[in-house]
């Protein structure tokens, strides 16, 4: 189990440092919206979970990246902000990760405002980018609460608590170092602790782990690689900062991106930005390099042969730099929007539905679920049209919704 899950606060008094009383007061007394902002990994979401649990409130959570358009938002939120809790308790609505709101849909923010104005329950919104343009119009309609990065001491204390419970072998100063190194991101610190937990935790071991990136530093590295054709300059860009930029996603311990996963690894940043800066043959050459790096990435995890990192480093820097035909005039860099973890969550949700339907088909045919999964595409129109089959297979509304969507 992930320690970040295992050690999530379940009561408000386990939440460190954040203004929980203000939050509690808001939830108990308001039927409006509260915007919580603060950097990633400090416990915005888990504090709200702990609060709901303590008050025995129903928590209705939505991730803003699911908001594709106005209709979708109103259908997702409209009823839940009116309907009473199923269990007759209080209810609080959480709209998580506002920054994931797709910028294309200007209607999205408007729709959220509409929902806020009509809600019968407290709505809490969270974001890491308080200054983003797209959420600007929202601020007028929300109370605002800041969650600050956690102090080094607070993080160190928490790490020590976990280390003791897990009976880890550690140098106390190493935990303090780990805490400082996480720059206020508790989730990162706990994740690192778990990654390090198979050996004695020392300062050296932490240094080996490589510091979590800072966006600015990553961008600098990227700029150097994208600007130059000189392989030496490009290589220096990563060898200089070897300790601060993670080349690949060390979280990819297996084929399932659901666990760990470092959304900020250099490989993802390059992936995101190659098509903005490389054309035609440059593009295919650069992606060919990424594809090889990915194979190395997997083989490292599989065989623990860390020497592959040498090739990964050279390919990601010098290789990518050299893939271009000529020096570009202008570099466009976008923050990587990719989140394997989140994508995997979405993917599995749909996948589960598919399996459920195939399972139901398996009860009526002499075929395995797997085979039925293969036949499903050829049967979907039939299943959509035939009420008789829907009844016979006991398809539920969600099943039919899914069939209608695909």
């Amino acid at each position: 189990m992930l320690w970040t899950e295992k050690y999530k606060p379940t009561k408000l008094n386990q939440v460190i440092q954040h203004p929980v009383e203000k939050l509690k007061k808001f939830v108990l007394n308001s039927k409006s919206a509260l915007l919580i902002y603060g950097p990633t990994g400090i416990g915005k979401t888990s504090t709200i979970y702990a609060l709901a649990q303590e008050l025995n409130y129903e928590l209705y959570e939505l991730n803003a990246s699911n908001f594709r358009n106005k209709e979708k938002i109103l259908s997702l939120l409209g009823t839940s902000t009116q309907q009473k809790s199923l269990f007759n308790n209080g209810k609080v609505i959480l709209i998580d990760e506002l920054e994931g709101l797709s910028a294309i849909d200007r209607g999205a923010v408007k729709a959220i405002i509409e929902v806020i104005q009509n809600t019968s329950f407290p709505i809490i919104l969270t974001t890491t980018s308080f200054d983003a343009d797209k959420i600007e119009p929202l601020k007028k309609y929300c109370q605002i609460l800041e969650f600050e990065p956690l102090t080094r001491e607070a993080i160190a204390k928490k790490l020590e608590e976990i280390a003791k419970k897990e009976k880890l072998d550690y140098e106390p100063s190493a935990l303090d170092y780990l805490a400082r190194y996480s720059s206020g991101d508790l989730r990162a610190a706990i994740t690192d602790l778990q990654v390090l937990s198979n050996k004695k935790i020392t300062k050296e071991a932490i240094l080996e782990l490589g510091t979590r990136e800072k966006t600015e530093e990553i961008k600098n590295v990227l700029l150097k690689i994208f600007k130059t054709k000189d392989i030496n300059i490009a290589y220096e860009a990563i060898s200089d900062k070897k300790s601060v930029v993670n080349l690949i996603d060390f979280g990819k311990t297996n084929r399932s991106p659901a666990v760990f996963s470092d959304d900020n690894a250099l490989i993802y940043w390059i992936e995101e930005n190659i098509p903005r800066n490389y054309q035609l043959n440059e593009l295919s050459q650069a992606f060919d390099i990424l594809s090889k790096v990915d194979v190395f990435q997997r083989q490292i995890m599989k065989s623990q042969h860390y020497r592959f990192l040498v090739y990964i480093g050279s390919l990601l820097s010098a290789g990518i730099a050299n893939a271009k035909d000529k020096k570009p005039e202008k570099i466009i860099l976008k923050k990587t929007r990719r989140s394997p973890k989140q994508n995997f969550r979405l993917w599995s949700l749909v996948s589960k539905r598919k399996y459920l339907i195939a399972d139901k088909l398996a009860t009526q045919t002499r075929l395995s679920t797997q085979r039925n999964l293969e036949e499903l595409p050829y049967l979907k129109i039939l299943l959509k049209n035939s009420k008789e089959l829907q009844e016979q297979l006991e398809l539920e509304k969600q099943d039919i919704d899914y069939l209608n969507k695909i």
Binding site: D249, K252, R255, P257, I267, E271, P275, R276, Q279, L280, N281, L283, S284, A286, F287, D288, L290, S291, K292, D294, V295, Q297, R298, Q299, M301, P340, N343, L346, W347, S348, L349, V350, S351, R353, K354, A362, Q364, T365, R366, L367, S368, T369, Q370, R371, E375, P377, Y378, L379, K380, I381, L382, N385, S386, E388, L389, Q392, K405, I406
Partner: protein
Amino acid sequence: MLWIEKYRPEDFEDFVGQEHVAKRIKAFVEQKNIPHLLFSGPAGVGKSTLALIIAKKLFGDTWKHNFLELNASDSRGIDIIRNEVKDFARTRSLSTSTHKIIFLDESDALTKDAQQALRRTMETYSNSVRFILSCNYSTRIIDPIQSRCAIFRFKPLTLEQVTKVMDKIAKEEKLKIDKKVYGILHELSNGDLRRVENILQSCASINKNITESLTYEIVSAARPKEVKEVLNLAIKGDFLTARKILLKTMLEHSLTGLDIIKQIQKEIWNLDIPDNKKIDLINKCGEIEFRMVEGSDEFIQLEALLANFVKK
């Protein structure tokens, strides 16, 4: 009801295709003495159906008590199979002196170790039970099992055979089927009768008059059309949009990288590009599929493939 069940034949007389196999199996049944059997062949050509016919003919009304059907890919692990087999095999068949039958479908889904265990099970209960194993590829079945079984190879159905079945269904369901549809379905399904009947039933749920265009409509709806769009966008050079739609499609349909690459590889043949470019892309497809199996991030691999469509 699904036609694949409704029109599953119950008799050797109604069984279409695999004449050479059916004839010999019928002889076994008439002598009331069947050996262990291994049915090998592609999907939808009658392996399970024939196993069922054997049971019904051997046991008559009591066939359900004397026939155990297991699916190797669903029943997790050999232990579960072993236990079920044990319970079933403990008693001798009631009605006749013949052996009870265990039908293990998709047996090539079992690992080598599981197959070894299966072999022992086959031996232990050989006094009371006969096994019928089905698989797609007999090469995936270990030799010791193969040598204990009479092996029968099933072939894809011919156009005549598919036509015969379709005509029968058309008569029962009062369908009007266009002449061309027979050939189309036979080709699209590669002689897989289950696929043919599923497509036919889907068509009929829209219109009893089954035309060429209706058939194509159903078949193309089965594959997300976005893949073609993605490839065309890439060819035009709009890589950013192409990959965005690709990701969205994969998430919404919960497709794996391999699902997508399979379809890209089929789609390449239909693209409006020169032949040598097609060959080049098919070659790349294979290379990327290889890396996908070896690598960790399917999406990066798909992007790398997509970038080759942009290349001039």
